[in-house]
């Protein structure tokens, strides 16, 4: 049954396959996010009480945050670190990669693509339905990060709690980072027939992106990373900036959204033109 550009049966099929693993990811992410929200403000408060942060530590912290954090309070720094923590980013990336490489590479690899494509659904509608199912699960894991932070923050001093509206901005920006990773995974998984290849390719892209961003922030004078920094999706995600200023990073979000559109359209073009065979 079709509903706009989606086939509800295909959405249901996709959700049946990914909802279980999504709930596991959501649970883990909520727990980690909660623990970070609980622990990081305390640690940050202790640092601030000393009124001295060794320059190396600050530089390293800023590299993780992607921005100079001078003048930021306990809450801003703590929650910016929590929301750009490598474990959180790695888990979100893993979820996006796992879900988005199922179709087409995963289906080809397990041989079910013949049955899938024998159904009276256009390839574009198949992609749209898979994307919708992915976005529903994306909502679950991203909401889990926010909910984890909210619950964790209930156990800290009220003055250390973040401005929830500002944190929502961070969530929106993070959602677009997550979407770029997912769209990149979709593109690669529709280009190759081997899921492992697709997963590895996206992991390499993601690690490259994280590394470039980290090195660029750690040492802005480094010529090599300066030139490549624009390729890193983390260059467009700076939670500390949003938590400090409370302004929507429209430009960064626009670039990430644009990247999603380009990657998704590329996927649609590849899927509509390519031959599909299991042998």
């Amino acid at each position: 049954m079709n509903f706009g550009p989606f086939n509800l049966g295909l959405v249901q099929r996709a959700l049946r396959e990914i909802l279980g693993i999504t709930l596991v990811f959501a649970g883990v992410l909520a727990t980690i996010s909660g623990l970070l929200a609980y622990a990081l403000p305390r640690i940050q408060a202790r640092f601030m009480q000393r009124q001295f942060i060794p320059p190396g530590v600050k530089q390293f912290r800023d590299a993780i945050l992607g921005l100079d954090s001078t003048g930021a309070g306990v809450s801003e720094v703590a929650f910016a670190i929590a929301w750009s923590h490598p474990i959180v980013l790695a888990l979100l990336s893993a979820h996006a990669i796992m879900v988005c490489t199922r179709v087409l590479a995963g289906e080809v690899e397990r041989g079910t693509v013949d049955v899938l494509l024998a159904l009276p659904v256009s390839r574009l509608r198949l992609l749209a339905s898979e994307t919708l199912a992915w976005l529903i699960t994306a909502g679950v894991v991203l909401a889990a990060v926010y909910a984890g932070s909210y619950v964790g923050a209930q156990f800290i001093k009220p003055e250390f709690r973040p401005d929830w509206a500002k944190l929502f901005m961070v969530l929106c920006n993070l959602s677009l980072v997550y979407a770029v990773i997912g769209c990149a995974a979709l593109l690669v998984a529709h280009y190759t027939d081997r899921r492992v290849r697709a997963v590895l390719a996206v992991i390499v892209i993601t690690i490259f992106s994280l590394l470039i961003n980290f090195l660029h922030t750690l040492d802005p004078a480094l010529e090599f990373t300066k030139q490549l920094a624009f390729l890193s999706f983390l260059d467009y995600y700076k939670p500390i900036g949003m938590l400090l200023s409370g302004e929507w990073p429209w430009k960064d979000m626009g670039i990430l959204a644009g990247a999603c559109v380009v990657l998704w359209t590329g996927t649609a073009v590849i899927l509509s033109r390519r031959d599909i065979t299991t042998t």
């Binding site: 049954m1 079709n2 086939n7 509800l8 049966g9 295909l10 249901q12 099929r13 049946r16 396959e17 397990r110 041989g111 079910t112 013949d114 049955v115 494509l117 024998a118 159904l119 009276p120 659904v121 256009s122 390839r123 509608r125 033109r273 031959d275 599909i276 065979t277 299991t278 042998t279």
Partner: protein, 307 residues
């Protein structure tokens, strides 16, 4: 609406340097039970994948039910039921949930018809795919291909893993569908099962159609197998008038076997009349279809149909 269910014109599909099919021409009439025969790797599955819109023709054209198999593939598939050669289904499905899910995707209730087919094929619809034997999965695949009552069935070696009784049931179901006007395109590498079901057959070999005819015409075109036993007591003819019309398989002193060209029976009979006193035994017979089919598989250099 034309009377042709499948129309393939000069279809070539290659995989880079690897051969797929080359210059295939095929017409299947609506309501026909059409057998598509060939050894493994001959090009049957490639042709089917083009028909189902999985592969784009390198050149040529394929249409089914008057729709282009590549450009209008998804519209076409509303009226197509297909089963792939190597069927794989999602392991978390049960028979019943598969019928519901496929019905939801197709926008059609498949459960009632599916249950009736499951009874006929003796399949328990409550079992999950992961717990099914290969034969049960094949039955479920067939039910999913048939339950939406398609006008065209494209079946790639559908009897794989079915026991003889179920093969027979399947043939009954397909005959019934054909009587209702549905077309069956049945791929196999075994002539016996095609012969038991189909009226018309095409044989594909190394990517080329080498025969496209009815089963009876195929047999008729094959000539006769002959087996002559000579009596030891009488001298044998040294050279015979049969040489130009018989391809000898063996010509030992007292036993000659070979293949007589179609239409040359009178000349053989004249030879028999001339030498009957020297003959101990004589056999002239049409080859059985399995033997005939094996001839198409033989590795002839030009790839043409055997004579």
């Amino acid at each position: 609406m034309s009377n042709v269910a499948i129309d393939i014109q000069q279809l070539t599909r290659s995989y880079g340097p690897r051969r797929g099919v080359s210059d295939v021409n095929l017409k299947v009439e609506r309501g026909a039970l059409f057998g598509f025969l060939g050894p493994n790797g001959a090009g049957k599955t490639t042709t089917i994948r083009v028909l189902l819109g999985f592969l784009r023709p390198t050149s040529g054209k394929a249409t089914a039910l008057d729709l282009d198999c590549w450009r209008q593939s998804h519209t076409l598939k509303h009226d197509v039921g297909a089963i792939p050669g190597d069927l794989r289904l999602w392991p978390w499905l049960s028979g019943r949930s598969a019928l519901k899910l496929f019905g939801r995707i197709r926008g059609k209730d498949m459960l009632r018809q599916g249950q009736s087919l499951a009874e006929e094929l003796e399949l328990d619809l409550s079992v999950k795919v992961r717990a099914m034997s290969r034969g049960m999965r094949q039955k479920l695949g067939l039910i999913l291909a048939l339950a939406h009552e398609p006008k065209l069935l494209i079946l790639d070696e559908p009897t794989t893993a079915l026991d003889p009784l179920m093969q027979d049931r399947l043939r009954e179901i397909l005959r019934r569908r054909s009587n209702l006007g549905d077309t069956v395109f049945f791929s196999s590498h075994t002539l016996g099962e095609v012969q038991a079901l189909c009226e018309r057959v095409a044989i594909v070999k190394r990517g080329v159609i080498v025969a496209d005819t009815t089963v009876s015409e195929l047999a008729a075109a094959a000539g006769h197998d002959i087996d002559i036993r000579w009596s030891a007591a009488t001298p044998l003819p040294e050279s015979t008038s049969l040489d130009p019309i018989v391809t000898w398989k063996s010509r030992e002193s007292l036993a000659w076997t070979g293949r007589l060209r179609e239409g040359e029976l009178p000349q053989l009979l004249a030879f028999v009349a001339q030498h009957r006193s020297a003959m101990a035994d004589l056999k002239i017979a049409r080859p059985d279809l399995e033997t005939l089919f094996m001839r198409f598989y033989e590795d002839d250099s030009n790839g043409e149909a055997p004579r």
